[in-house]
């Protein structure tokens, strides 16, 4: 994190994003949230529907003109062009910008691409597949070489596994890697990502960029919660946040990627615990080793606990445990989304705004090209009382959605008599995740 600017004392603060953290969640809100989670879980168990009720064909059709516009080439081209301009602008700052705290790249990579992409996907749906600059880079290269657009060297069969690995690597870079806001580190990371994605995209074709690309998976899985989506026949509809996750296909690595989504955010909360970092920083081993181990452990614990609960549930319901963990993995998506909002809301408001201010001066020349240089985060959105409310509401909402999703899956997969009993292990696990998430917010 140390600045590399010359001079005896840097006037600017060191690099890095997130110089301000939220106040701990008040204890009474922890109790309220945990109590609500428990009550909702057991009410849901007894009172919810007994037959599958959410269908892939559900949803209120959008007006035909809106649907046509969303699918029209010019509208899509506008979004793609916007994405390519932001990418080019950011790469310029990355290559030619000054290595100071005013460089926008750390904010763009760690805040916009991570938190901003997730939040905006929750609102508008998984749009990264469309605007992914690698997709258009690949297409441009193929067009230049006069090769067909769906060219691939091999059939893509890895499902979400590359996404899980890529998201874990990104989280490691953001949460563990030393000097992760230095331009040199970011250059290696950004160009490394572009190169690897392009090679994999060329080797496996568009199927890789749809599912295996880390940010495509990040955006499309959080995007399932959006009210805007496509129903089974591909038509645009408005629907509940429950319908999207149920349409996620159980491809290989689905449990892994959802576990990484939840585990990395939970680790970020945990890493702020005073006793943990006191131990880590004074240990004789390098801190990065402990932190890496903890990050991976959090993801493994999420995956392992869900797999265990799913197997137990299957046993209690008297069905084969095969594929049950993957079938319930989508119910982790709203829980992970709740954690993500609770954890990064104020970072998004604060650093997201400052990122926009810094983007106005990509080369560190004092320019104000976008007119956003003086922009400040709206205070009301990060006032402590408001943030605490956002945290509890998002975690409890994520929990409720997760419970209802798990219920729908249970009545779909399990015989009717055993469906209630079969949900118990999964419900208990979700309560643990939710109370754990609230406790992390309270104690760190």
């Amino acid at each position: 994190m140390s600045p590399t600017v010359a001079g005896p004392l840097a006037v600017l603060p060191a690099h890095g994003v997130g110089s301000r953290e939220d106040l701990p969640l008040p204890f009474h809100l922890l109790l309220v949230g945990a109590g609500l989670a428990l009550v909702v879980s057991f009410v849901a168990l007894g009172a919810l529907w007994k037959q599958p009720r959410l269908h892939r064909e559900d949803g209120r059709l959008l007006p035909i003109m809106v649907s046509l516009a969303l699918d029209s080439a010019p509208v899509r081209a506008v979004f793609v062009a916007l994405s390519l301009v932001i990418t080019g602008w950011t790469l310029t700052a990355l290559v030619a910008g000054a290595d100071t705290a005013n460089n926008p790249v750390p904010s763009v990579v760690y805040v916009w691409l991570w938190v901003g992409l997730a939040f905006s996907s929750m609102v508008f749906g998984g749009y990264w597949r469309l605007v992914n600059p690698v997709r258009w880079l690949r297409r441009g290269l193929l067009a230049a070489a006069r090769i067909e657009e769906d060219f691939a060297l091999a059939e893509y069969r890895l499902g979400y596994w590359p996404a899980a690995a890529g998201l874990l690597a990104f989280a490691w870079l953001e949460l563990v890697a030393p000097d992760n806001a230095d331009l040199l580190t970011l250059r290696v990371a950004v160009f490394g990502y572009l190169l690897v994605s392009l090679v994999l995209g060329l080797a496996f074709g568009p199927a890789y960029l749809r599912t295996g690309d880390p940010f495509a998976a990040w955006s499309s899985l959080y995007g399932t919660l959006s009210p805007l989506g496509r129903r089974a026949d591909g038509r645009w509809v408005l629907r509940t946040p429950l319908h999207g996750p149920l349409m996620v296909d159980a491809q290989p690595g689905l449990l892994a990627v959802t576990s990484v989504m939840l585990g990395t955010t939970a680790y970020d909360g945990f890493s702020g615990e005073t006793r943990w970092y006191s131990f880590v920083q004074s240990s004789s081993l390098p801190a990065a080793i402990w932190e890496t181990a903890a990050l991976v452990t959090f993801c493994l614990v999420v995956a392992g606990s869900l797999a265990l609960a799913a197997v137990l549930s299957a046993r209690l319901a008297g069905v084969s445990p095969r594929g049950v963990a993957s079938a319930f993995a989508p119910s982790l998506v709203p829980i992970a989304a709740g954690y993500l909002i609770a954890h990064y809301w104020s970072l998004w408001v604060w650093e997201g705004t400052h990122g926009l201010a810094k983007m106005s001066d990509p080369l560190g020349t004092g320019a104000n090209l976008l007119g956003t240089a003086g922009l400040n985060a709206p205070e009301a959105l990060i006032a402590p009382g408001f943030v605490a409310a956002v945290q509890v509401v998002s975690i409890v909402t994520g929990h409720v959605l997760g419970v209802v999703l798990a219920h729908e899956r249970a009545v779909t997969l399990f015989p009717r008599r055993a469906a209630v009993l079969g949900q118990l292990p999964l419900l208990a696990l979700m309560v643990v995740y939710t109370v754990g998430g609230l406790t992390l917010l309270f104690s760190s």
Binding site: L23, Y277, S278, Q281, S282
Partner: protein, 133 residues
């Protein structure tokens, strides 16, 4: 020597009143005078509560905690490291040099509510968190 320093500082306790804070600062500020920049937040006279922190290699004493600070309240940190380093108060936008063995005094005033980290860079150590309420 590090141990002796720690012991003597432990005897001073973590919190002091404004009056005793200002009396002790005169003894500690002289060695660091050469490295103290002319920022408004660093001053010779300690204000508000005073917290003394000693860094010995990778050990921070007292162990890191979260310190509450009311909006408008002042807090003075007196940091002594056994090696040259940089002291960085996130959010308060303060970076100050630490000279080996000499105390560096920094006073901050709680302004925007939130939690802010106080850290050093070589090696990266978190000294404490300041929770402004």
């Amino acid at each position: 020597m590090g141990l002796a320093l720690t012991l003597s500082l432990a005897a001073c306790g973590g919190d002091e009143t404004a009056a005793s804070g200002s009396s002790t600062s005169s003894t500690t500020s002289s060695p660091s005078a050469s490295s103290s920049p002319a920022t408004t937040t660093s001053s010779a006279a300690a204000q508000g509560r005073t917290i003394r922190i000693t860094i010995t290699g990778k050990q921070v004493s007292p162990a890191p905690t979260t310190v509450d600070l009311a909006v408008g309240e002042k807090l003075t940190l007196v940091v002594t490291s056994d090696h040259a380093d940089e002291l960085h108060l996130h959010g308060f936008e303060i970076e100050d040099k630490l000279t080996a063995g000499a105390a560096t005094t920094v006073t901050v005033t709680g302004k925007d509510p939130g939690v802010y980290e106080v850290e050093t860079h070589e090696p990266p150590l978190r000294l404490l968190k300041i929770a402004v309420r």
